[in-house]
């Protein structure tokens, strides 16, 4: 199938070795568009010499100059690099930091960002061949799949350049990794790397641990943590258990997966072989026994045997590539066979030992980042991984790898060819099963803290253990050339949704972001727990929820409201039986007294005393009557009922008699009452008036009825001629005498006269009933005098020389009747009071 390819134009099958399509003659292998470089696409070399003439002059000069400089200085620069490079820098090239260093060299052509330059401490260097960058990529990515990429069984033309360079170039090449590989070739055979031997020889790692690394400000915290881990393991080995409960939730995901993952064959095979080896050695060299003795060795054998094929081929190739390292491996093998307990620091690589010994020579990137807190690498905080650049993630965890085996019992390693690489697998299995590994807090150190310091690349290396059954093959073409895309750019690159997600296990939420800046990321925004409604909304009834007490109160309120509308019976008194005999007695008594006194014309009762009983209003009336203009008109208003005629006629006659005697005025009668006109005529026909006005028709004028009430009064006052055809204006009247038994009638005349600012004096001739209601007008000066009833007439008559004597005729009947009525009221009232008390007493007893 691989030999058949489809034509991109016609879609028909063609052989792979064909250059053009057999059917459409189109090119079967179209050149990739350089402008669109897809992720993972390897750059294609092109011969640009033919394009040289078209370059600008300045560019050609620059290129020529660079060629000359490269040609003259290239050999020397290599030597100068070796000489100028500090020894620890070369040593560091053997470890994982070598990749960083080489990366810096590889990326030298590119403009290294300032922040990267400040971390790495390296300057821009001339561009290296891209073949060297593949190793750096391995360091950066740290993915086991990268190892699988470099399978030697691939075609020769697909062989990576870096591998080809390794095969072609002697080990004397001044590359750090090559040097380290050369040194590690003998351990590959003798299962003892050079740096391990060196650490054993020096045996100063314990001293390194004893040294207060923390005192060095320029040392990374994870290095200090490594020290504390070792010490904690020493303590943990003596303790049966830890106080910290074993909580899997507190463990990072990658660690949990490592625990649950299948053991040796899968886990060990996915870790870098050299790293497994280091772990195994560390575990073998541990002086402190593990709480749970784990026969990792045997398991390691099985793991080795089963995972031997998974050993990276590039390492395998290295084993047969550097025979010069066999002598070193022999020494290492001897050391293992002797089962010499190797101290923990012995696992420290040479570069680390040098770092501890020479603190001032700490690499620039390490010193610049030494101030970073340990918490940033804490596995409990997954986000901390994202804050660290990938290259630093790749570089930092090596120390933890070195310190990890410190807590493991030292196991004699088996020298079986490349088994040193697989021994780490068994150790890893032992770590996951060891109780001491669990429950150790980060601060206390130990394996947990050790694993916490593992970077994500190592975590990524352990994660796919669960997926080892179906590893995702990543071809070399899928890898990104570090020379083309820096790691930080690679970290920012959106991930293809279709690609496998190695960090999927960090979060249980596998939601893939498809929009915004987080597009392509998965599980970065986990939904909050309980976000979605977990239960059906509670249904509420619209029916009124009321208790029995509330219903009773509502019923009571309803009854109260209905009772308001019901008619309330009026409490009535018991009917008082009319005393017909009493009524007849009263009528007879009054009738008898009045008739006797009137018809008998008795003068038994004395008249009111003039000097004592004359009131002020009566004095005013006397004054008005005495000041009437001679021959002038006097308006007499007749506004009383015929029933009151006797009282009012008796009251007005003395005044008219006095005026007539003194000034002979002409009387003008007008009335606002229907019977007033007749009453006026009746007044003038009295016997007392006969002698004066009877034969002189010009003495009085009866204007008749004045309709309209107050309006008629106002109209008459304003224009008497138009109203009642009186020939003179109202001011012509010298005096206005209002005869009324009604207060309303008297008020109307007072108000209308005051409104027109009439100065004509007003005198009221009233009944005794209406007198109190007109008294205020006299008090206010609106009326000049008041003659009230028969009592006032009697006084006025006494002031008029007892003329005409009408009051005197009625006075005995009046006084006798008043006394009788008073006596009846007093006597009858007393009797009624007693009877009432008796009745109420009887009624109360009856009840």
């Amino acid at each position: 199938m691989s030999d058949i390819i489809k034509c991109p134009v016609c879609g028909k099958d063609n052989f792979a070795d064909q250059e053009v399509c057999l059917f459409c003659d189109s090119e079967l292998h179209p050149k990739s568009d350089a402008s669109t470089l897809t992720p993972g696409q390897a750059p294609t070399k092109k011969n640009t010499a033919e394009l040289e003439p078209i370059l600008p002059q300045w560019l050609r000069d620059a290129r020529d100059q660079s060629r000359q400089t490269a040609g003259t200085e290239s050999p020397q620069s290599e030597e100068q690099k070796k000489s100028s490079m500090p020894p620890e820098a070369h040593v560091s090239g053997m470890d994982l930091l070598a990749g960083l260093h080489s990366q810096s060299e590889d990326d030298g052509e590119e403009d290294t960002p300032d922040w990267l330059a400040s971390i790495t401490g390296a300057n821009n260097k001339p561009k290296q061949t891209p073949t060297e960058s593949s190793e750096v990529r391995w360091v950066e990515l740290g993915n086991k799949n990268d190892f699988a990429q470099s399978t030697p069984d691939s075609k020769e033309e697909e062989t990576p350049d870096w591998l080809a360079s390794l095969q072609a170039q002697p080990p004397a090449e001044n590359d750090e990794l090559n040097t380290w590989f050369n040194q590690s070739q003998s351990p590959a055979e003798t299962e003892s790397p050079t740096w391990f031997q060196e650490s054993d020889q020096k045996n100063d790692f314990s001293e390194f641990n004893k040294e207060p690394v923390s005192g060095n400000d320029e040392t990374l915290d994870w290095l200090r943590q490594m020290d504390t881990d070792d010490r904690a393991k020493d303590t943990a080995s003596e303790l049966p258990s830890f106080g910290v409960p074993n909580n899997d939730n507190d463990m990072p995901t990658w660690m949990s997966q490592e625990e649950t993952s299948s053991p040796l064959d899968s886990t060990g095979g996915e870790l870098p072989a050299w790293l497994n080896t280091m772990g195994a050695e560390d575990k073998n060299q541990s002086e402190v026994p593990v709480a749970s003795p784990e026969p990792t060795f045997g398991a390691g054998d099985a793991g080795i045997s089963s995972n031997e094929n998974e050993t990276p081929d590039w390492l395998k190739s290295l084993e047969s590539f550097a025979p010069a390292a066999e002598t070193q491996s022999d020494e290492w093998t001897k050391l293992v066979e002797d089962n010499t307990p190797v101290a923990e620091p012995s696992t420290t690589p040479a570069w680390l030992k040098n770092d501890t010994g020479i603190q001032n020579e700490t690499p620039a990137w390490l010193s610049s980042d030494s101030a970073s807190p340990v918490e940033q690498t804490s596995p409990t905080d997954d986000a901390a991984f994202g804050d660290i650049p990938s290259w630093l993630k790749a570089a930092a965890p090596q120390s933890s790898i070195f310190s990890e085996p410190a807590a493991k019992p030292e196991e004699p390693s088996v020298s079986e060819g490349t088994d040193w690489l697989a021994t780490f697998k068994s150790d890893t299995t032992g770590e996951t099963q060891a109780p001491a590994f669990e429950g150790v807090s980060f601060n206390d150190g130990g394996d947990d803290a050790l694993m916490n310091t593992l970077p994500d690349w190592l975590a990524n290396a352990s994660e796919p253990s669960a997926q080892s059954s179906s590893p995702t093959p990543i071809t070399n073409t899928d890898a990104i050339s570090p020379g083309e895309l820096p790691s930080w750019v690679q970290a920012m690159r959106p991930v293809d949704p279709g690609a496998s997600q190695p960090t999927r296990s960090f979060s249980s939420d596998q939601t893939l972001e498809t929009k915004g800046a987080l597009s392509g990321l998965q599980g970065v925004l986990p939904a909050a727990a309980g976000y979605a409604p977990s239960s059906k909304p509670k249904a509420y009834s619209i029916k009124l929820q009321s208790t029995e007490e509330q219903q009773a109160q509502a019923l009571l309120l309803e009854q109260i409201l209905s009772a308001e509308a019901e008619p309330e019976p009026i409490a009535s008194y018991s009917p008082l039986i009319a005393s017909r005999g009493l009524r007849w007695f009263i009528a007879f008594a009054v009738f008898a007294v009045v008739f006797l006194t009137v018809f008998l014309r008795t003068q038994i009762f004395s008249m009111p005393f003039q000097a004592v009983d004359t009131p002020n209003e009566l004095q005013g009336a006397l004054s008005v009557a005495q000041t009437v203009p001679d021959g002038g008109d006097v308006l007499v208003v007749v506004d009383y009922q015929p029933a009151r005629a006797a009282e009012l006629e008796a009251a007005v006659v003395p005044m008219l008699d006095q005026m007539d005697v003194l000034h002979h005025p002409r009387l003008v009668f007008v009335s606002t009452h229907e019977t007033g006109s007749i009453l006026a005529d009746q007044l003038m026909k009295l016997d007392v008036m006969t002698g004066r006005f009877q034969n002189d028709a010009q003495k009085y004028i009866n204007l008749g009825y004045l309709p309209g009430g107050s309006t008629g009064v106002r109209s008459f006052i304003q224009d008497p001629q138009q109203t009642v055809q009186y020939p003179a204006p109202f001011a012509q009247f010298g005096t206005v005498i209002v005869m009324t038994d009604n207060a309303e009638s008297g008020r109307a005349w007072v108000e209308q006269l005051t409104a027109v600012k009439n100065t004509t004096p007003l005198v009221f001739i009233t009944s005794a009933q209406a007198s109190p209601m007109l008294q205020p007008y006299y008090a206010s000066g609106q009326a000049k005098g008041i003659v009230s009833g028969l009592y006032g007439a009697a006084i006025f008559e006494q002031n008029n020389a007892n003329r005409p004597g009408t009051s005197r005729i009625y006075w005995d009947a009046y006084s006798a009747g008043m006394l009788l009525a008073a006596l009846l009221v007093i006597g009858g009232g007393f009797v009624s009071l007693i009877l009432g008390i008796r009745d109420r007493a009887l009624t109360g007893d009856g009840k």
Binding site: L582, P608, P615, A643, I678, T711
Partner: protein, 217 residues
């Protein structure tokens, strides 16, 4: 129509009111008597309308032969007689009794109206006296007693004793005058002030159309 009546009422009231304060302004002083005379004529016409309405109502009772229809017949009969008596000119001699001419209206007044009303007033006196006597039997409270005592004091103060007993009642006469001139006048003044305020309010309500005694809601 209702709006028209309201407008006429308000306009008439405003003009009359302005005529009080500004009689010389734009002839308001002359408009006011015109409106007053018009009101007098309308009041007189209203009296005729009232008489006509009374006649129609009682005539209907007679026609239906309702209970008390006889009194209605007497009412209508004397109504016609009184109107007829009033239409006789003053100089016309209808009846002469002796040397004196008999005026029909005077006959009706002196023979019917005056004695009837005087008799009613006398009966009222008997009724009031009887009620005063029986008051304390039904209600024996403070106000009833006060009412009876004041009435007795006024009656005793208004009367005099026979000459044989010395004439006036010195104390009671003064006490009676004091009650009439102080207590009664004080109460009457309060009533009049209230009436004045009520009249003012009624006038204002009529001016602004809030109160429509002339009809309409």
């Amino acid at each position: 129509m209702r709006v028209l009546t309201i407008a006429i009422a308000i306009a008439s009231g405003v003009l009359v009111l302005l005529g009080y304060f500004f009689p010389e302004f734009m002839g308001l002083g002359s408009i006011q008597p015109f409106l007053l005379n018009t009101a007098l004529l309308m009041a007189a016409a209203a009296a005729l309308v009232g008489v006509w309405n009374l006649t129609v109502v009682h005539a209907d009772k007679i026609r239906r032969r309702e209970k008390g229809g006889v009194y209605s017949a007497f009412l209508i009969a004397f109504l016609v007689m009184t109107i007829a008596a009033g239409l006789i000119p003053p100089g016309y001699v209808l009846l002469r009794v002796g040397a004196e001419n008999v005026i029909p209206s005077e006959i009706l007044f002196k023979g019917i109206i005056f004695p009837v009303e005087a008799s009613l007033m006398g009966i009222l006196t008997i009724s009031l006296l009887y009620a005063a006597i029986r008051l304390l039997r039904r209600r024996t409270d403070l106000m009833s007693i006060v009412f009876i005592v004041v009435a007795v004091l006024i009656m005793l103060g208004s009367a005099t004793l026979p000459i044989a007993f010395g004439g006036n009642i010195p104390v009671l006469s003064s006490l009676s005058q004091g009650i009439k001139n102080v207590l009664a006048v004080g109460g009457a003044r309060g009533i009049l002030i209230g009436v004045a305020l009520g009249t003012l309010t009624t006038g204002l309500r009529a001016l602004i159309g809030a109160d429509r005694p002339y009809g309409g809601k």
